[in-house]
C-alpha cells in the first residue's frame, strides 16, 4: 500500500511525463491537415471535419490535466527527487525479472520457437522463480528465459528464418535442465514435484484445443513438438474416426 506522500511524489513525475507526452503528440497532430486545405483546387478539409480536431482537443486537455496533477503533487509536497518513489530493491528485482521473462517470451520465443516448448519453459521459470519468493530463483528464472530469448533472437532475427529448428533444441535443453534441477531440489515440496506436469500438460492441452478443437492458427506451427503432434493428428489419429 502506498502512502499519500509517496503517491504524490509519483504523481509529480507522472505529470511531467504526461505533459511531455502531450506536447509530443500535439506536435505529431500538427502533421494532420487542419484548417482550410486546398488539394488540386478543391477544398478538402475544414477545421470541423479534420481528422486532427478530436486528437488536438484531447492532447490539449491531457496537457492541462497533467499540469493540474503537477500542481496538486507540488502542493502536497510531492516535488522532489526520484529516490523516494516507494519502490524498494526487492520489488524492483521482482518486476525487472518478470519483465525480462515476459519480453523474452513474447518478443523472442513465441514467434520463433515451438509454442508448447516455450510455454512450458515460461511456466517452469515462473513457478520455480516466484513460488516461495526466493530472490535467487527469480534471477535464475529470468536468466534462463533471457538466455533462451537472446539465443533465439540472435540466431534467427529475420522473419524468413523463424521456422528454423535450432533454437527449439536449445529451449528444449534449457527446459530439461530446469526441470531436472527442480526435481533434485524438490524435497517434499508439492508444487516443485508437480511442476513438470503443469509445465508440459497445460500448454499441450491448450494448444491442441486451440489448433484442433477450434481450428485456429497457433504461433510457430512448424515447431519441434507441435509439427509432430499435427502430423500424427492428421495422418495417424484422424483416419481412425474418419474411417
Amino acid at each position: 500500500m502506498s502512502d499519500p506522500l509517496t503517491l504524490r511524489r509519483r504523481d509529480f513525475w507522472t505529470a511531467l511525463f504526461l505533459m511531455a507526452l502531450s506536447l509530443f503528440f500535439l506536435w505529431k497532430t500538427a502533421e494532420i491537415p487542419f484548417g482550410n486545405t486546398n488539394n488540386a483546387g478543391i477544398d478538402s478539409v475544414r477545421w470541423y471535419n479534420s481528422a486532427a480536431v478530436v486528437p488536438f482537443a484531447l492532447f490539449c486537455l491531457l496537457f492541462v490535466l497533467g499540469a493540474v496533477l503537477l500542481v496538486i503533487a507540488i502542493r502536497a509536497g510531492g516535488a522532489g527527487g526520484l529516490r523516494d518513489l516507494g519502490w524498494d530493491r526487492d520489488e524492483m528485482r521482482r518486476f525487472a525479472t518478470i519483465g525480462v521473462i515476459m519480453l523474452a517470451y513474447i518478443g523472442a520465443l513465441v514467434p520463433r520457437v515451438d509454442f508448447i516448448l516455450c510455454s512450458a519453459l515460461l511456466i517452469a521459470c515462473l513457478i520455480h522463480g516466484y513460488h516461495g519468493g526466493h530472490p535467487r530463483r527469480m534471477v535464475l528464472a529470468a536468466g534462463i528465459m533471457g538466455a533462451a530469448g537472446v539465443v533465439s533472437f540472435g540466431l534467427y532475427p529475420a522473419q524468413a528464418d523463424w521456422r528454423a529448428p535450432g533454437d527449439d533444441v536449445f529451449v528444449l535443453f534449457l527446459l530439461a535442465g530446469l526441470l531436472v534441477h527442480t526435481q533434485i531440489h524438490a524435497r517434499g515440496d508439492k508444487v516443485a514435484r508437480a511442476l513438470p506436469w503443469i509445465a508440459l500438460l497445460a500448454p499441450t492441452v491448450l494448444i491442441c484445443a486451440m489448433a484442433f478443437g477450434f481450428r485456429q492458427n497457433v504461433p510457430a506451427r512448424t515447431g519441434l513438438i507441435f509439427a509432430q503432434i499435427e502430423y500424427h493428428y492428421f495422418v495417424t489419429l484422424r483416419p481412425l474416426w474418419r474411417g
Binding site: 503517491l7 491531457l62 515476459m102 517470451y105 511456466i123 508437480a194 497445460a202 492458427n217 497457433v218 504461433p219
Partner: protein, 503 residues
C-alpha cells in the same frame, strides 16, 4: 402491455430454443465452472475471465454459443468471488469485497455453510432481478435510442468515460479522467473513421487498423494482474466449512425486502456507464447499513449485510448489459470485454442491434443463473478445495492462456507486442493508482466519440451550438458539465452546502 407480452413471448421462444439445444449445456456448464474458479481464486477477476474467454471463444464458434460461454463466465465469476470472501476474508473479486465484511464473521461463528447457501440464493435472485430489468428496459430504451443522433451519442460516450473515471478512481478523480483520456487517445491511432486520414501510425502498416480491442483488453486486465500476482503470499487460515450448503428458505423469505432493494440498487448502479459490480456491492451495503434495523450489526456477521452486497453485485450484471445493448456503452469492465466479443463478431451493439440478440442474451442470463444456483449448491465443496491453489501456480498458466487468446483473435505476432506494451503501461498505472477500467472504456468508446462528434460538426457546418439546440444533447451536455463541476473543489463545496441545507 402489448410491448411486455411481445417481450415475454420472444423471451419464451429464445429460452425454449436454448434449453432444447444440448450444446447449450456443454458451454454453460464449462464456462460457469471456469467463471466460478476465476472468481474464487484471489488474483483472478471476473473481467479477466470474460476477457480470456473472449480471446478463446470470441470468433471461433457461433455468436450464440460464444455469448453462452461469456455470460456464463461473467455470472459465475461474480458469484465465485464470495467463496474466499467468506472462508478466507480475502475477496476473490473486487465485487465481493463487501461480502467479506459479514461473510467471514459468519464463517468464523461456524455458519460458513449457511453463508454460502445464502449467497448462492441471493446471487441467483439478484441475477434474475437484473435480467428482468434488462428484458423490460432494453426494449423500451431501444425505441427511445432510435431517436438519438450523433451529438447525443458523442456526449453519451463522453459521459461514460467521465463517469467511469470519477467513480472507479481509487485516488484522485483527475487520475480516472486522465486514464480515460489516454484510452481515448489510443483510439485515435489508425485511419480516421470519416476521411481515412492516417493518425499516429509512425509508418507502421499494422497501426493503420488501429489498436485491436482484444489485445488491449488482455494487456490492460490480464498482464498487470499476472505481474502483481507473481509474488509469495501466505494464504490466510481458511475457516473450516461447517454446515450444509443449502438455501435457508425461511431466512430468504424473511429478508426478501432486503434482497429486492439490493437487486434494484445493483441493477441501477450497473446501468450507469462504466461502473462495475464492486461499486454496486458497496453502495447496496452502505444503503442497507443505513436503512436496516440490523444496521448496527453490519460487519459483525449480519445476514442482511451479506445479502445486501451479494444480491447487488449479481444484479449489476443485468444492469450493466442495458447500456451495452442499447447504446453500445459498457456498463462495467466485464461488459467492456463483452463489447469486444460483439465487435469481433461484427455485431454492433446500440440502437441498430437485432432485438433477437437481446432476447437470446436474456434467455442465456436466465439459464446461467439457474446453472449457477445448481452448481453453487452441489459442487461448492469442490470450489472450496480450489481455493488452496497458490496464485504462483495458476498465474503462469493464465499467461499462456492470455497469449493464445490474444494471438488467435488477430492471428498476428504484432497483437502480442501490443498486448505486452499495454500490459506494462497498465501495470505502472495500477501502481500509481490510475483506474484501468476508464482507459479500456476510452479505447472502446473513442472511435464512437470521434466519429459522432465530428459527424455532428460536419452536419451543422462547424456550428458548436448543435450540442445545445437539441434537447437530448443539451441535457447530456448539462449532465457532463455537472459531473465535472461536482468534482472540482468549488463544486464539492457547493454540493456539501446543498446537502447540509437539505439535511
Amino acid at each position: 402491455m402489448d410491448f411486455l407480452t411481445t417481450q415475454l413471448v420472444g423471451f419464451g421462444g429464445a429460452f425454449l430454443a436454448l434449453i432444447l439445444d444440448p450444446w447449450s449445456y456443454v458451454y454453460i456448464t464449462a464456462s460457469m465452472f471456469l467463471g466460478i474458479v476465476f472468481g474464487a481464486l484471489p488474483g483472478l477477476t471476473a473481467t479477466l475471465a470474460v476477457t480470456i474467454l473472449t480471446g478463446f471463444f470470441g470468433n471461433k464458434i457461433p455468436l450464440d454459443y460464444s455469448l453462452i460461454a461469456l455470460l456464463g463466465a461473467y455470472v459465475g465469476a461474480i458469484y465465485g468471488g464470495s467463496y474466499p470472501s467468506i472462508l478466507l476474508n480475502i475477496p476473490g473479486t473486487a465485487a465481493s469485497a463487501a461480502t467479506a465484511m459479514d461473510g467471514y464473521p459468519l464463517a468464523r461463528a461456524g455458519r460458513g455453510g449457511e453463508a454460502l447457501g445464502l449467497t448462492t440464493t441471493a446471487s441467483f435472485i439478484g441475477t434474475l432481478i437484473g435480467t428482468v430489468a434488462l428484458l423490460i428496459f432494453v426494449g423500451a430504451l431501444l425505441a427511445v435510442s432510435r431517436n438519438i443522433a450523433s451529438p447525443e451519442k458523442a456526449l453519451l460516450a463522453l459521459f461514460g468515460i467521465l463517469l467511469s473515471g470519477a467513480l472507479m478512481s481509487e485516488d484522485l478523480v483527475i487520475k480516472g479522467w486522465i486514464a480515460g483520456l489516454i484510452g481515448l487517445a489510443m483510439a485515435m491511432v489508425g485511419l480516421d473513421p470519416l476521411l481515412s486520414e492516417p493518425r499516429y501510425t509512425f509508418g507502421w502498416s499494422y497501426m493503420l487498423s488501429g489498436f485491436q480491442v482484444v489485445p488491449v483488453l488482455m494487456g490492460a486486465f490480464a498482464v498487470p494482474q499476472i505481474i502483481e500476482g507473481l509474488r509469495h503470499v501466505e494464504t490466510g487460515q481458511m475457516v473450516a466449512l461447517r454446515g450444509r450448503i443449502m438455501p435457508n428458505f425461511a431466512t430468504i423469505r424473511r429478508h426478501l425486502p432486503t434482497i429486492g432493494r439490493s437487486g434494484l440498487i445493483g441493477t441501477g448502479v450497473g446501468a450507469l456507464p462504466g461502473v462495475g459490480e464492486d461499486v454496486a456491492g458497496w453502495v447496496s451495503y452502505g444503503v442497507g447499513k443505513t436503512v436496516s434495523k440490523d444496521g448496527a450489526n453490519f460487519g459483525k456477521g449480519s445476514v442482511e449485510g451479506l445479502l445486501s452486497s451479494e444480491t447487488a453485485n449479481n444484479a449489476c450484471i443485468g444492469g450493466a448489459l442495458i447500456p451495452l445493448l442499447v447504446l453500445g456503452i459498457p456498463g462495467s469492465p466485464p461488459a467492456a470485454a463483452l463489447l469486444g466479443a460483439f465487435k469481433i463478431n461484427n455485431v454492433i451493439p446500440g440502437p441498430t442491434i437485432d432485438p433477437e440478440i437481446i432476447l437470446r442474451v436474456v434467455a442465456i442470463m436466465v439459464l446461467a443463473s439457474l446453472t449457477m444456483f445448481i452448481m453453487g449448491l452441489f459442487t461448492a465443496r469442490l470450489f472450496v478445495r480450489i481455493l488452496r491453489l497458490p496464485q504462483t501456480v495458476f498465474l503462469p498458466v493464465v499467461m499462456v492462456l492470455t497469449t493464445i487468446g490474444s494471438f488467435s483473435v488477430g492471428g498476428g505476432i504484432n497483437d502480442l507486442y501490443l498486448m505486452l506494451g499495454v500490459g506494462f503501461v497498465a501495470y505502472f498505472m495500477n501502481l500509481m493508482k490510475y483506474a484501468i477500467a476508464p482507459l479500456v472504456i476510452g479505447v472502446i468508446l473513442g472511435g464512437l466519440f470521434d466519429e459522432t462528434f465530428r459527424r455532428s460538426l460536419l452536419i451543422s457546418g462547424g456550428d458548436l451550438t448543435t450540442f445545445v439546440t437539441r434537447p437530448g444533447a443539451a441535457i447530456l451536455l448539462f449532465v457532463n458539465v455537472a459531473l465535472i463541476v461536482s468534482q472540482l473543489p468549488f463544486g464539492k463545496r457547493l454540493v456539501a452546502l446543498f446537502t447540509r441545507k437539505s439535511a
